[in-house]
């Protein structure tokens, strides 16, 4: 009985496996014969009930049946898989992918964001203020008296007798201090305007970041520390720097910070005007007169302030030689960054 069944299963398998099949059908065939309830598996069940004499021979031919079917299925599977691969190779995988355009932020925004993130890590808030300012906030409260030549340092666009386009973001310092008691630690990014002739090196509008930190016992040494830490993160770790005295009406002592020109490494080149140094920012200790204007006690508090131009910073960092490119908004420029 069993011997007959073995032959018939083999015949059926030959029939099944010679038809046009794919991998899915092959899997069905495998289950039909070799699965838990498969035909071959069932024959092994039947083997248990045959006589001892018949068992070895039948067992042998049953094993042979299982091996034949298993190897045939493996062979078929390999053939089908490689056939499939061959079919697939008609697709040219080197065709360009379907394009999805992403935009980008303006280079000045990117530069500002880098600066912001460094100061954010140092615990600075980021505060904004109006571009159309009063003479009071832009000048008077910052210790620029009326009829003082210090005002010549910042050529101003006026819109009325007492209102103007802010010439720096420093007025935001006054606005913050008017609202909050120390400690105050913030940077103030924004757009500023100067009535200066437009050229490759200067534009009538540009962006600045001002910073301020006021508390008890804030010192010039700490100002140096913060700005050196910033410059090292923003420009390069092993830069050389120097602070040299300067003048801003709202700070005393005032300084300008230079770093070694990284184009010529201090040897002198066109960009650093053959000095080997690049001026990167202005800074100083907040002038007691400014504290008085906002009602802080200069005997109790001290603070530092600093300011830098974003365009200048980006030009230095990216090797841009004409400031006007920032405001042309040429798409070929915008796409580069």
């Amino acid at each position: 009985m069993l011997a007959k069944k073995i032959v018939s299963v083999l015949e059926n398998f030959r029939k099944d496996s010679s038809a046009s099949i794919d991998l899915k059908i092959l899997e069905e065939i495998r289950i039909k014969y070799l699965g838990r309830n498969g035909l071959v598996t069932n024959l092994f069940e039947e083997l248990k009930s045959v006589s001892k004499e018949e068992k070895p021979a039948l067992g042998k031919s049953l094993n042979s049946l299982r091996d034949q079917i298993t190897s045939k299925i493996t062979e078929l599977k390999q053939n089908l898989t490689s056939l499939l691969e061959k079919e697939k190779s008609h697709i040219d995988l080197s065709l360009p992918g379907r394009h999805k355009q992403l935009g980008s932020n303006h280079l000045l925004t990117q530069t500002l964001n880098e600066i912001k993130s460094i100061f954010r890590s140092l615990g600075f808030s980021s505060i904004e203020g109006p571009e159309l300012e009063s003479d009071y906030y832009n000048f008077e409260a910052l210790n620029f008296p009326k009829d003082h030549p210090a005002r010549d340092m910042q050529d101003t666009f006026f819109i009325s007798k007492d209102f103007l386009l802010r010439t720096h973001t420093t007025p935001v310092q006054v606005r913050i201090m008017e609202k909050h008691q120390p400690p105050v630690r913030a940077i103030m990014p924004g757009r500023v305007y100067r009535n200066e002739a437009v050229s490759s090196r200067s534009y009538c509008m540009f962006h600045q970041v001002d910073g301020i930190y006021v508390d008890t016992d804030v010192t010039f040494a700490e100002l140096k520390g913060t700005l050196v830490a910033f410059a090292k993160q923003f420009y390069m770790e092993d830069l050389k720097y120097r602070f040299r005295p300067s003048f801003f009406p709202f700070t005393e002592p005032s300084a300008e910070m230079d770093i070694t020109c990284y184009l010529c490494h201090g040897k002198g080149c066109k960009v650093c005007k053959y000095s080997g140094w690049l001026e990167i920012l202005g800074c100083g200790m907040v002038d007691p007169n400014v504290f008085k204007m906002v009602g802080y006690d200069p005997e109790k508090y001290s603070g530092y302030a600093f300011g830098m131009g974003i365009e200048r910073t980006a030009m230095l960092k990216y090797g841009i030689t004409d400031i006007r490119i920032f405001f042309d908004n040429d798409f070929r420029f915008l796409k580069q960054f």
Binding site: G103, E128, I159, T219, K224, E252, F331
Partner: protein, 801 residues
């Protein structure tokens, strides 16, 4: 300001200190040396030449063909100067030298067919004087081949120093020398005054009266008689030329020289041209016209301080002298003015007149009130020596209220509190003394000092601390790299704008930044623009009142340079007046932050997988809705549509909250585009960013994703064209049962097959429940009810069934 090294050496010993070192030292003390010109560098390669022979140029009448010898070799040189002669000693610039004026390099040249190997120079070309009519002829005794730096002793160095407005004391050679003396711990020597006065007293020749004592606290004056006006001696001309001044005549040159020596501006009047031989200092009481010595008519506002004689004004005090009393070649007798004027008074006059001079520049920054007489005497001494003048005895010195040095107390502890670093008390005393700031009293805690009147910038303790830090050296202050962090709430006011930028980037938009200063044309689309009172030019006369016009300019420029497919955005402020009145307070104008999206050209390029497609209104609408959903405002704002639009847009779309429009945009009108020279469609939308930010968001809550299978159903109807898709969607949503989770319009078809003025719209409906698997029966019931409801409500015909 130009400072001459040789001139500095008259006052301070700089032996053994190189110009480079001086330059760094001054810069690090706050007197920034912006440039250094060394004559050795400037005249490198120029030598004394001998003109051995001179012939006519064969092809040019006005040119000569010269043979120039450097003592060893001969060079053929073409020269155009009329005064070139055989056997002259001249300044020869061989091939490779750089001519100081114009900075051009001498190369072998062919002039009218003849070769030339170098150039014979004029004084102007060498920047030695303005003289350019002929070549510079050197004394015969000079030896050919000797470098001119040696022959003419050109070994000086000029420092170009940027003096900050707080340092009027440094606007002179003595001022800079004083700084160097402090920095190098050396002594400063002022020129000694030894006047040979005549027996005649000044009172015999003139009188002085100061009416305006507030604006003229001191007026000092000397009289010098019988002067000979002529050209200045060479050393004086050279000194002035090298610092960029043009020599005029001996007396005028001396007054300029003494100003650049001492910082005190001087003016010399022709005493015989002063009516009544009198000087009166007073301010104008009415508007008037005055001719200054540059022969220009100046309109004087009321209150301008003038120097007058008995009859008429003769100078604008502190700014410029008048043509009517100027020194000229027939002048015999002089009155030298040396005054101290109130700085803000001079600044006001200079600003009102639009006239800034070397004198006004110094007066408005603050000169030393106690140096006037010294400067006048110094000038008188030089005039008596150089112009053979006779100095009248005595002087005029109207100085009713003497200005004394101010006294300041410096607490040693404050130095440390501000600088974060202790400087030795003794060192502090030394530094202050080196700057001429002397101690009056002192104890362990503090020092009281008197600040000389040439330092008007030092008024407070903090100013002294800066001086100490400056001279001690900023580099000697430690760099503390540990921050004493005081924790407090950190805010970021640009956080929302930054979030918006990120979303715009992810939607494929590039950020632009435009100059808000624009022309009148670009503000003409909106009301009440703000005008700049002092614009640079008419292209930047107004502040923009919308972001659209500047964005259109950008689009136009880019199209012209070949970039026609553009997706751009900008975040920027716009400005407008709240009425037509003048701006007097912050309430009179509005400054608000806007966001603009603008797109033009192709949405899809022609690719191997797609056809090209141009942006249309629905790209804009979809973009705006995606943007709003990313900032969690997708279900807050109402849409309104207007086909004819407004002055900027057709197909106008507005987004409003209650009745306040927060954004508008659409297809930019053809008329507007043509004003920008744009001939392709542009879609744009402008939001009020501040309003968007301020909308109170409902916090998003987590919704468990459904566990049970969804069931989908589709239907399509034919509607009249006049029915808006939005109405149908709203109707289906409201009529469907709670099981209807969403409905989507997925097909639109118009054409003959659906009939004239008809359209077919197909919708896909999604059914589901949070708590069970729906049965086909209950979905079918709701679906059938909806078909009936839509058919009835819109008089629609169900398709395909």
């Amino acid at each position: 300001m130009k400072i001459l090294l040789s001139w500095l050496k008259n006052y301070v010993d700089l032996k053994g200190i190189s110009p480079e070192e001086i330059s760094v030292k001054l810069t690090m003390a706050g007197l920034e040396v912006e440039d250094t010109y060394s004559e050795r560098e400037v005249y490198k390669g120029f030598i004394v030449g001998l003109v051995k022979a001179k012939q006519k140029h064969p092809n040019a009448d006005k040119l000569s063909l010269c043979t120039v010898s450097d003592g060893e070799k001969d060079y053929q040189v073409i020269c155009g100067a009329p005064n070139v002669q055989e056997n002259q000693k001249i300044v020869f610039a061989p091939i490779g030298t750089v001519i100081p004026k114009g900075q051009f390099k001498i190369e072998k040249a062919k002039i009218r067919g003849v070769e030339s190997f170098g150039m014979i120079c004029s004084e102007a070309e060498l920047n030695i004087s303005d003289y350019h009519e002929g070549i510079m002829v050197l004394p015969d005794a000079m030896k050919a081949g000797v470098p001119i730096t040696e022959a003419l002793k050109l070994n000086d160095v000029v420092f170009e120093i940027g003096i900050t407005p707080n340092r009027p004391d440094a606007l002179s050679h003595i001022g800079v020398a004083r700084e160097l003396a402090a920095l190098y711990n050396k002594s400063l020597s002022h020129p000694k005054i030894k006047l040979k006065e005549s027996k005649n007293s000044v009172n015999k020749f003139a009188s002085i009266e100061v009416e305006d004592e507030i604006n003229c606290p001191r007026y000092s004056s000397l009289v010098v008689r019988k002067v000979e006006i002529k050209e200045s001696p060479q050393w004086l001309k050279d000194s002035l030329t090298k610092i960029g001044l043009r020599p005029i005549s001996n007396v005028v040159d001396i007054t300029n020289y003494v100003m650049h020596e001492t910082g005190q501006p001087l003016h010399a009047f022709d005493l015989d041209l002063l009516a009544g031989n009198k000087i009166i200092v007073k301010s104008t009481k009415e508007e008037s016209v005055f001719t200054t010595l540059d022969w220009k008519q100046r309109n004087l506002p009321i209150g301008t301080m003038m120097i007058c004689d008995a009859e008429k004004p003769v100078a604008i005090a502190g700014v410029m002298g008048g043509a009517n009393s100027e020194i000229n070649y027939s002048t015999k007798n002089l009155l030298i003015e040396s005054a101290y004027f109130n700085p803000s008074s001079i600044r006001r006059a200079s600003r009102a007149l639009g006239l800034s001079t070397d004198a006004s520049y110094r007066f408005e920054r603050g000169t030393d009130p106690n140096n006037t007489l010294y400067a006048a005497q110094r000038a008188a001494q030089l005039i008596s020596e150089i112009c053979n003048g006779e100095v009248a005895s005595g002087n005029f010195d109207v100085y009713p209220k003497k200005i004394f040095p101010i006294e300041i107390v410096l607490r040693y502890k404050t130095v440390e509190r501000i600088l974060g670093y202790e400087i030795d008390d003794q060192r502090i005393g030394e530094i202050l003394k080196s700057l001429g700031i002397y101690p009056k009293e002192q104890n362990k805690e503090e020092i009281k000092v008197a600040v000389p009147t040439f330092r008007p910038d030092i008024e407070r303790e903090i100013d002294l601390i800066e001086e100490i830090a400056r001279i001690h050296g900023y580099d000697n202050i430690p760099t503390i790299s540990k921050i004493a962090v005081t924790l407090h709430g950190r805010v970021d006011e640009s956080e929302f704008a930054d979030q918006v930028r990120d979303i715009a980037n992810s939607l494929g938009f590039f950020e632009m930044i435009n100059n808000p200063l624009v022309s009148e044309k670009l503000v003409s689309y909106r009301e009440n623009p703000i005008q700049i009172l002092n614009p640079q030019n008419i292209d930047m006369e107004f502040l923009r009142n919308s972001l659209l016009p500047t964005a259109l300019s950008v689009i136009s420029r880019n199209i012209n340079s070949g970039e026609k497919d553009l997706c751009l955005f900008e975040i920027g402020n716009i400005f407008y007046k709240n009425s037509t009145e003048e701006i007097k307070s912050f309430g009179d104008f509005t400054e608000s932050q806007k966001l603009i999206f603008i797109m033009t050209g192709r949405a899809n390029n022609k690719e191997w997988y797609s056809n090209e497609r141009f942006f249309d209104f629905f790209d804009l609408k979809g973009l705006i809705n995606s943007f709003l959903s990313k900032i969690s405002l997708d279900n807050f704002l109402n849409d309104s549509y207007y086909h004819s639009g407004n002055n900027l847009y057709e197909f106008l779309l507005t987004k409003s909250l209650v009745n306040k429009v927060l954004g508008e945009g659409g297809k930019v009108k053809k008329e507007v585009l043509s004003e920008f020279g744009i001939d392709q469609d542009v879609y744009s939308f402008e939001f009020d960013l501040q309003s968007l930010m301020k909308i109170e968001r409902i916090d998003k809550k987590f919704i468990e994703p459904g566990k049970f299978p969804k069931i989908f159903r589709d239907f399509a109807f034919i509607f009249d064209n006049s029915i808006l898709s939005e109405e149908i969607l709203v109707h289906i949503r409201s009529e469907g049962s709670v099981l209807l989770k969403s409905v989507k319009l997925f097909d639109l078809f118009e054409g003959e097959s659906v009939g004239k003025d008809k359209k077919s719209l197909a919708f896909s409906l999604e059914y589901g429940s949070e708590d069970r698997t729906l049965t086909e029966v209950e979905v079918e019931k709701d679906f059938t009810a909806l078909i009936k409801s839509v058919t009835q409500k819109f008089n629609a015909t169900l398709r395909g069934k």
